[in-house]
């Protein structure tokens, strides 16, 4: 029960912080410990699903289970736990200038509990509950630096949009329940009737808000831009994607034909990719740039999975999950690097990153690996995913798929227009008048470098040796593909 472990962790960490006034570092390590144990508990479940078993928990009467593990959900949950583990370690130093650690770490743990619930939920009720848990934790984390007006503003915007999404979801759930009388997420047979379809539409919109689907994405840049970098890394790396996975599962479970869902995703992804990359080109703040890049990557994910569902290409869905995995690692590094620059050099705008290579060489290297990976430069993780995405996408059988593919290629060229200058900025020489910034390299706390190095190596490892990761994503892709059939 990984989730139970995390919930316990949330209480323990809160009490430790509250009652014993424990130091930030200790809290961080405890949190990391809980993440690690949860990850350890998750591992056996992978084995079970590999054997074709879908373990369930909590029999709630005739309604069935309340959580069900499927390979895709386990993949997302595993990524979230891994990222959470590293983020927790990193926070041990990153939050040194903040207060109220005792609320931060429990919120982080609860965020992941909610996230796991969202992807593992076996029925709509639990999906909703966990989604709310995740979102509320996320709102609070975005506004964690409550002395900053901008953080409060971003958190509030996120809260308003998220709540609209939640209400829409709830409406959808009630409509579905009214007609079918059940909330379980198993593949429905036969075509859904009108009210189910209306409910489904509401659910998709609600989940779409949470997964930053254009045009419901407007909270993303603000929330990512204003939240602490650690929180941005979580939000951008996996929180958005978890809602998206739920969206896919709900859509297929409620009887939306895979062909239609695929078409919808492809069409939406065209706007999503172009808008994400186009707006990223004109950003002045690093985190907003990265946020728009995430929107674009959600677009790539949508396109790939959309092609997979529309043409029933298992390879494309697998590629989508591979992209999700690679993106989580790359975006994690990118946001965490940005956090280091902010922590030591007060860098917020892109131009503030000038001279990072001289002051923080290791961070600059990790940042470069991450951004080059996002740009799809071989042999990093981003390139491997680009290769698999293209391999999958080329199996599409008609014009819709090919248009999607072309737009994808154009976008991957477009995205170089902001990734490469970002790398250039890192290595730019600092102008003489900024004499204060010419100080020699800064010693970065090992609590911050460790997660960076681990994730950076992971980006390289996924690119150089994709096979083990492919094995995991293949399971997830096949599961979703089978659901669509």
């Amino acid at each position: 029960m990984p989730q139970a472990c995390l919930v316990c962790g949330a209480f323990v960490v809160y009490l430790l912080g509250r009652l014993l006034k424990t130091h930030n570092e200790v809290l961080a390590l405890f949190t990391a410990l809980f993440f690690g144990v949860a990850l350890g508990l998750l591992m056996p479940l992978f084995k079970l699903t590999q054997a074709g078993d879908l373990p369930v928990w909590g029999h709630l009467g005739p309604a069935g289970a309340f959580l069900r593990a499927d390979p895709g959900a386990l993949l997302v949950a595993g990524v979230a736990l891994g990222l959470g583990l590293l983020v927790a370690i990193y926070s041990g130093r990153y939050l040194a200038r903040d207060r109220r650690y005792e609320t931060y770490y429990p919120l982080l743990l609860l965020l992941v509990v909610g996230l796991m619930g969202v992807v593992l939920a076996a029925d709509l009720f639990n999906l909703y509950m966990f989604s709310e848990l995740m979102s509320i934790a996320a709102y609070a984390l975005v506004a964690f630096r409550r002395r900053l007006g901008t953080a409060i503003e971003a958190g509030f915007k996120y809260l308003v949009m998220g709540s609209v999404g939640a209400v829409t979801m709830l409406l959808g759930i009630s409509l579905v329940y009214r007609v079918t009388g059940t909330l379980t997420l198993t593949r429905a047979t036969g075509t859904p009737e009108l009210w189910t379809r209306a409910g489904l539409a509401c659910l998709l919109v609600g989940l779409g808000i949470k997964s930053a689907v254009v045009p419901l994405h407007t909270w993303v840049p603000d929330a990512h831009g204003r939240a602490p970098s650690t929180v941005s890394a979580m939000l951008s790396g996996i929180v958005i994607q978890s809602s998206f996975y739920a969206l896919l599962k709900v859509g297929l479970a409620l009887g939306l034909p895979a062909y239609d869902l695929g078409t919808l995703l492809i069409v939406l992804s065209l706007v999503q990719m172009t808008l994400g990359n186009g707006l990223a080109l004109v950003q002045t703040y690093t985190k907003r740039l990265l946020a728009y890049s995430s929107i674009a990557h959600v677009g790539y994910f949508m396109l790939t999975v959309g092609i997979g569902l529309r043409y029933d290409v298992a390879l494309a869905i697998q590629a989508g999950f591979f992209l999700l995995l690679a993106h989580a690692a790359m975006k994690g590094v990118a946001f965490l690097c940005k956090g280091v620059c902010h922590f030591y050099c007060q860098a917020t705008r892109i131009v503030d990153l000038r001279g990072t290579a001289a002051r923080l060489p290791l961070v600059a290297a990790a940042f470069t690996v991450a951004v080059a990976g996002l740009a799809g430069v071989p042999p990093l993780a981003g390139f491997a995913s680009k290769w698999f995405v293209l391999t999958g996408a080329l199996r599409s059988a008609d014009a819709v798929g090919y248009i999607g593919l072309t737009v994808f290629l154009v976008n991957s060229l477009l995205s170089l227009g902001y990734y490469l200058p970002l790398i250039g900025t890192l290595f730019a020489r600092v102008t003489p008048e900024g004499s204060k910034t010419l100080e020699p390299s800064i010693r970065v706390s090992p609590l911050m470098t460790l997660p960076l190095v681990v994730l950076g190596m992971l980006v390289l490892a996924i690119g150089l040796h994709p096979q083990p990761w492919l094995d995991i994503t293949a399971l997830a892709g096949d599961y979703l593909g089978a659901m669509g059939r």
Partner: protein, 489 residues
């Protein structure tokens, strides 16, 4: 692992070890960096030459490891006759460029990284020629681009260097993406990334065949800087530091030629390629004329030679487009000879810029008496590029033209021959304006380091020797031809 495989690994491994060593040394390695890189480049070249007897014995040194079994992608290297001319050219150019850099590059705390990137650039190029798997091919193909654009962005001349590097990266990446799509289509159709499997032929729908060949040709033409896809080239060449310019112009451009030979021309058969013959020939001629015309009016001496590359790549594309025995053999020879001559000319330009501190041709005059060695070398280079016998390019142009006259398109062939008049014009003007005339007052000439002069002189001699004794190189090209177009000849 036998001795051949070890040499095969050395070709890539020596520069890789050198690059990693240089990165590890960092600022401490400034003094030895050039030597480390030189030794690695020499080993790389030695590896390519040592394997020559094995090839002549009918062997193809290869090695192969499992990489991504789920996708049937292997870590496979293979040296065959098609790769050999390009590999040797690339390795030799790298060695000379490194030696030239000893004199050109001022040592500072970043010198080790400069040489490390040169090594990565070289690995990218030799890896591209050796890769026996499409995935691996593309990884090396992009490494070449990444390393060279970092070199331009960091060590380029002038304030615009980052902008130029960005333009270079994005423009060439456009071509790379086209190639990538083509590669994936082939890989998907064959179910394997192995080039040996692809050479057996791939079953594709006719419309897909046309699309893939188009994508490949356009994609590789971006790398070859064929008009109108050449826009990245003049800026990149003019801004890059001279050793990088030499490697770009003499070695990297020809990777596009290698790509065209390796993919569309060895995977598909003559019938499938025929409809592309005339477009390729026409694009070649247009590029030839355009490059030569701009070279006539350009003022910056580095850009003149850069445009000359656009023109020379036009000859090569024309030769490939003839789809004849002579034309394709000529194109391959032209790759080698052009590398010699273009490296020579850029080295001379570097000498002139270093000695006089000027790069505008209007401000240069009468340098012949002050720097006679450079003047003679430049004259050799100019005569060679103009196709004058007995210098080497005469041989390859002869073959290319004769290939052209073997086709049904005599008009196009005549146009190419007369187009070469423009080459003569800019080449002779180039020498005349820089080295002849009265030496203007106030034009001081600095002493040149031997490391810059020695490779220049060596190349000038090679340009002559290559012209007088081209037989071994013809032999290489002859061996390569049966691998193309399913042995149509």
């Amino acid at each position: 692992m036998n001795i051949e495989t070890m040499w095969l690994v050395t070709i890539l491994g020596a520069p890789l070890v050198a690059a990693l060593l240089l990165c590890a040394l960092g600022g401490r390695g400034a003094r030895v960096a050039g030597w480390i890189a030189g030794v690695a480049a020499a080993l790389s070249l030695a590896g390519a030459l040592v394997l020559l007897p094995a090839l002549q014995a009918g062997d193809a040194p290869a090695l192969s490891f499992e990489w991504i079994p789920a996708s049937n992608i292997r870590l496979a290297l293979r040296l065959d006759w098609l790769a050999l001319p390009f590999l040797v050219t690339e390795a030799a150019v790298t060695l000379l460029a490194v030696v030239y850099a000893w004199g050109y590059h001022h040592a500072d705390e970043n010198t080790a990284f400069f040489y490390a990137l040169l090594m990565f650039f070289a690995i990218g190029m030799s890896g591209t020629t050796l890769a026996d798997d499409v995935f691996l091919f593309y990884v090396f193909w992009e490494l070449m681009l990444v390393a060279s654009s970092v070199l331009i962005a960091v060590w380029g001349d002038g304030e615009r260097r980052t902008a130029v590097a960005l333009k270079y990266f994005i423009f060439t990446h456009l071509g790379s993406l086209m190639v990538l799509v083509g590669l994936i289509v082939l890989y998907d159709a064959a179910g394997s990334g192995s080039l040996s499997v692809l050479r057996e032929g791939v079953a594709l729908a006719p419309v897909l065949v046309t699309t893939v060949i188009t994508l490949f040709i356009i994609g590789f033409c971006v790398k070859m800087a064929i008009f109108p896809l050449h826009l990245w080239l003049p800026d990149a060449h003019a801004v890059a530091p001279m050793p990088v310019t030499i490697m770009l112009a003499a070695a990297m451009l020809s990777m596009g030629t290698y790509g065209i030979l390796r993919f569309p021309m060895s995977v598909f058969n003559l019938a499938q390629m025929t409809s592309f013959a005339v477009p390729m020939m026409v694009a070649g001629i247009v590029s030839e004329l355009y490059g030569a015309l701009i070279a006539l009016v350009e003022q910056d001496i580095k850009r003149i030679i850069a445009y000359s590359s656009v023109s020379q790549m036009g000859y090569i594309l024309f030769g490939l487009g003839t789809l004849t025995y002579n034309g394709v053999a000529g194109a391959t020879l032209h790759v080698i000879f052009h590398a010699i001559v273009k490296a020579l000319l850029f080295m001379c330009v570097g000498l002139v810029i270093r000695a006089s501190g000027r790069r505008n041709i209007a401000e240069l005059r009468g340098l012949g008496s002050a720097m006679p060695v450079a003047a003679i070398c430049t004259a050799v280079g100019a005569l060679a590029i103009a196709g004058t016998p007995p210098f080497c390019i005469f041989n390859s142009e002869w073959m290319i033209f004769s290939g052209g006259f073997n086709t049904a398109h005599i008009g196009l062939s005549i146009l190419t021959v007369f187009g070469s008049l423009l080459t003569v014009a800019y080449a002779l003007l180039f020498v005349g304006r820089i080295f002849f005339g009265a030496h203007p007052e106030g034009l001081a000439v600095k002493q040149l380091p031997w490391a810059m002069l020695a490779p220049t002189v060596l190349l000038a001699i090679l340009a002559l020797v290559g012209g007088l004794f081209p037989a071994p190189l013809f032999d290489w090209a002859m061996h390569e031809l049966p691998l193309l177009l399913r042995g149509a000849w």
